[in-house]
Amino acid sequence: MVKFVLEHILQLFLVVFSVATLTFLLVRFSPGDPATIMLKANDVPASDEAIYAMRSELGLTDSVGGQYIEWLQQVFTGQWGLSFVSQKPVISELFARLPATLELAFAGLGIMLLVTLVLGISTAVYENGVVDKIGRFLSLLGSAIPTFWLGFLCMYIFSVNFGWLPSMGRNDWKNLILPATTLGLGLGTVYARVLRAYMLEMLQQPFVKASRARGISKKRILVFQVLKHALLPIVTMVGTSFAFMMGGSIIVETIFSWPGLGQYVMESINMRDYPVIQGYVVFAGILFVTIHMIVDFIYLIIDPRLRVR
């Protein structure tokens, strides 16, 4: 147990360190001068003196090594610098927008799970039947359709054409439906295929034969016995897809004007707000390693066989 926790903390440290280093290098190589950008963001005329003053204020006159150490210190002490635009600590800006993104991600996850379970189980039950063929087609389509195009289609059909659902903003639960569907649908159809394959593989197991010999129908076995075994791959799917949700949310939030992290990072890119972009990547890194840790931990709870190790 101690080893388990230590291993993950080491990994977290490594990820944060490498991401921090990478983003530092990128900012060094990027064409814009942060001091000029910052002056522009605050509507100060960028005279030579003003730029010089700002450069020393931002610590840009220090040596590269000094700046790097300074940046690492900021990352690990948890301030992550100030946003050029709002002048507030990046970390509090990010936390302010986290709930909206989490809400979207969880809703997307819910839609994904729903599609995966319904489609996965029904295609496994009716193996090689009509339902199976439709499921196969959907999963092919699901992995080929770009998220943003799906978003447009959903928006056109359900809010422009029928006027059933709102297409913009975040006011009540109705606003959540379209973005969440856009986010979860494609991945759900793909994972349905994975679940189907896993369930069919489990059907070859001896315990299934034993149940069959007792006269239990194939459908009953699939739903009541095999599905329990499929819990492990489903947990893996949820864990890995969470990463996908966070990434996909950048596109979905832009389309549906959802006020979350994704939209914020796109705004920051347009404003050249470097500290926010840097902070976002570090933030994402920490989030994902944490999720991986939780998933690994759930494995141990679900499957006693893994605890022996």
């Binding site: 490498s18 983003t23 992995s143 770009p146 195009w149 447009f152 056109y156 966070m246 990434g247 950048i250």
Partner: protein, 276 residues
Amino acid sequence: MKLKRWKQVNVGLLVGLGILLSISLIGLFAPWIAPHDPLAVNLAARLQTPGWAYPFGTDHLGRCILSRIIYGIRISVTSAMIIMFFTMLISVPIALLTGYVRGRTDHMIMRIIDSTLAIPDIVLTIAIVGLLGPSLVNMIFAIVVVRWASYVRFIRSLVVKITQEEYIFSAKMAGNSNFRIVKRYILPQIGMPIIVFSALDMGKIVLNIAGLSFLGLGSQPPTPEWGAMLNDATDYFQVTPHVMLFPGLAIVLFVLACQLVSEKLGKYDITAGKEM
């Protein structure tokens, strides 16, 4: 039975390859095939629905959407190929080195790779382009930087598996140099799986390029690119949905063809292996 199976495999493969080949040819001969200049603005004919003069209609500046999609092939497919080339150039040598030599270098490189893979592709790519500034070149650079790690991981796993085969041991016993073993016995073996893997990935890369261009991080206007066209469509599709319909369909068709080829090639490879 066997014959039927072979036929099935080949039909799907041929359809997929046929689509990809025709898309590439259309892109190659774009100036002769496209009915209009993809950049020609004609405000008198803006947002026209599909008709004889403009088969796929026109966009908000009166540019021919069909011609823009045709010229868009050049941007998307060429960028995807450049990305693939550089990814291979970086990842194959590293994978061979780490997978064949193993040891401490291998351990260190894999640690670095694991930590890059801990962050989802899109997030890292967007951040890199965002920091370097949006442009086609920076986008290509960013996608390569993010992609090579998963390629190394995949190719390395193939190399490791082959290195443990007995014929590699006998080749070593017979006094072959490491270089010769890699060239003669390992490279030919990993070729096919890499092709299958990269065929599927080609589709993903095109999706990636379109997504980034949609966000305004890839190719810049007025360059005709599928994702960028969808970005242009954002303000107009509610009234004239054709401005977003056709570029999206182009992306879906290309990605589906890549998937088909990869899937069928994968099967082909397996059956071929079984019959040997």
